[in-house]
Amino acid sequence: MSKQKEDIRIGFYICHCGHNIGSVVDVPGVAEYVSKLPNVVVSKDYKYMCSDPGQEMIQKDIKEHKLNRIVVASCSPLLHESTFRGATAKAGLNQFFMQMVNIRENTSWVHEDKEQATIKAKDLARAAVHRVAFHKALEKKVVPVNPDVLIVGGGIAGISASLTLANAGKKVYLIERDATIGGYMAKFDKTFPTLDCAACILTPKMSSVLKHPNITLWTWSEVSNVDGFVGNYKVTVTKKPRYIKEELCVGCLACIDACIYKQGKFYDEFNFGLAKRKPVYIPFPQATPQVVVVDDKTCLHFKTGKCQQSCAKACDRNAFDFDQKPENVEINVGSIILTTGFEPHNPVKSPNYGYGKYPNVFTSLEVERLVNASGPTEGHVLLRDGVTKPKSIGIIHCVGSRDEKTNKWCSRVCCMYSLKLAHLLKEHTDADVYNFYIDMRTPGKGYEEFYDKLLNEGVQFIRGRVSEVTDWATTDSEKGKLVIRAEDTLIGIVRRIPVDMVVLSVGLEPAKDAQEVRKMFSISCSSEGFFLERHPKLAPVSTFTDGVFIAGACQGPKDIPDSVAQAGAAAAEVLALIDAGHVELEPNTASIVEEKCCGCQVCINMCPYTAISFNVEKGKSFINEALCKGCGTCVAACGSNAIFQNLFDDEEILSEIDGLLVE
């Protein structure tokens, strides 16, 4: 199938990529081999093809040798295709006359056998040389970008991104699943390493979000459907019934007092069950917005239908509406930032630490609430009985982190927050505090200094993984205590430390519904389940889906400073998109050659975007190019070879196959 057309003049350029390719593939050998292939006019190797001199060489050759096709053998097209397309275009050639050959990610980085790697590189180069002859001049499709932005998740990352964009004059929809924004940060008393009060720095931001004229905040809401593509997404948001007309509620909380339950009786999610709430409630005093919620799973009206509705009667603004149903709202946005955060490790999965078995084993998050002046105990650190102050406390690091049995990764924030909790617990109780750690990980500005400070505060540090927590006493001093058994690797003995309270420093895991969210937004997760960035170094907040960005702990364990930094980066990416005003889309759409179409309509069922319709008069099918997203499924299904796809046409792929196999 090789196209022996005289007018095809190919330039072949192969990159050493320093030693990355050159140390495995015989680069000059491949260049020499390709120079003898039909239609190849120039064949050169160079140290760094993507560098300016490399690109200039290609441009010069295009002009000098009247080249009309370019093949670049280097890294993955996912990395540098746009670079070499740009170089091609600069020399006045249509950018789609360039084809890349991946001999780095696909070859030199994964093979050790130099001879085989070189054979493979030659095969791949030959395939591209065959293919490129069939390339057509194409233009990118230019579509406008809707300047409105959707942000999903109102933790500190979502809040920061929303404010940055709104301050730049962009219209933001912030969607939060809970009844309030704030995320985990809203639950903390102090934050490391500066020990500044979390509420003092967070709540002003929360109210700015609420008041901002450019931000539409929908709490108690979730995204239920996403359609469209970069610049033009159509999103359905489902507002869950709150049974309160939000615009009427002023947060006077008279209804909560009036509820026929005189005391809180139900699990209080915000306090991890350390307190009880009523069926009508507000998550915490500074909840934003200040609008109550009725929990239909516990409210008597919903359970029995026989409640006298004293709450509704107490509302002088008539804000109650027990007939509310889920409401779907459709919005159009051009870009999306996901800031859906993390899920703490559930320590029941690490049974040797006794969580759920011994009442006085707590999670770090529970302790965050206990030390919090506005928490369930007003800042008094008490054991589960609600009266006893602990005299000794053991903090166990890395629960659900760096552990083959649960999660392999380091959760990054636990060492630091364990130090913070050690400091706060000491301050609140003056108890003996022991930290059991594997390694102390404190990289970050002011973090190591914070650790040093703790070392001088009389907190004990024991290096070694804790094997178990038991209530099995072997001496009198252990009676009635929880005994932490751990190997002290610094002195090489197994120690038993009896304490009143155990704190488990649980790790950070992907959100429970990360997989569903990922599917809805057509992005990927890395193997542990956090959202996958486009490139770990060079595109840390982008995803493989254009126009969808990620920030904060949904991308991986992260502290507040890093979450805020990523939120800023994501906002900047979005601003770049909006300010450009338009995006260029790959022209890889399909179209039907009318004369060849037999009107069988097989293709119509193949298309997930209803881009293909049947013209009854002509007896032929047609593709609406604006709806086609270029998957090519219809092309493969067409029995009459009547459909062709730009960039991935039959003759292009078939010539690639031939080129691969026929020497």
Binding site: L78, S524, P608, C631
Partner: protein
């Protein structure tokens, strides 16, 4: 071409690998970035979606001398274009039957769902497939096709 049929240990089969841009192609980039070593047998052709893979591509590959054809797409439910991979699966099942009738051993044609994060799986699949094909030796389909044509 190498044709040391009996000494399959050192023989590297040639596998044409059609990888979907969004999952398996990205996984193969990841395998590269992670320096996961695997057999130098695959020759990747990138397509936007596994749904693009025309049965003709598979037959053409065997007819031109491929020792195996590997298709990599997104996991069920994950296709970037919602269901191209299901269409691919349906065609694949048909192709498998057809290939067997043509005398192409089952192990020479393989479909795998490999997500963008599964660089490790890509390595394992390529190595495993290469081992299986090594046991079978070079494909004879090309010769068969050539004699038929003659």
């Amino acid at each position: 071409m190498q044709s040391t049929v009996n000494n399959n240990e050192n023989w590297t089969p040639r596998i044409v690998a059609f990888f979907c841009n969004w999952c398996t192609y990205t996984a193969s980039d990841l395998a590269g970035v992670s320096r996961l070593r695997y057999a130098p047998s695959t020759r990747v052709i990138r397509v936007m979606c596994s749904g693009r893979i025309d049965p003709e591509f598979i037959m053409e590959s065997f007819a031109k001398g491929a020792d195996g054809v590997l298709i990599g797409g997104c996991h069920p439910g994950d296709c970037h274009y919602s269901e191209g991979n299901y269409k691919c699966l349906r065609r694949f099942t048909l192709m498998q039957k057809y290939a067997e009738q043509m005398g192409i051993e089952k192990d020479r044609l393989r479909l795998e769902w490999i997500s963008a994060s599964e660089g490790k799986k890509l390595q394992e699949v390529v190595n495993d497939m290469t081992d299986h094909i090594r046991k079978l030796g070079p494909s004879k389909i090309k010769e068969v096709v050539e004699t038929i044509v003659k």
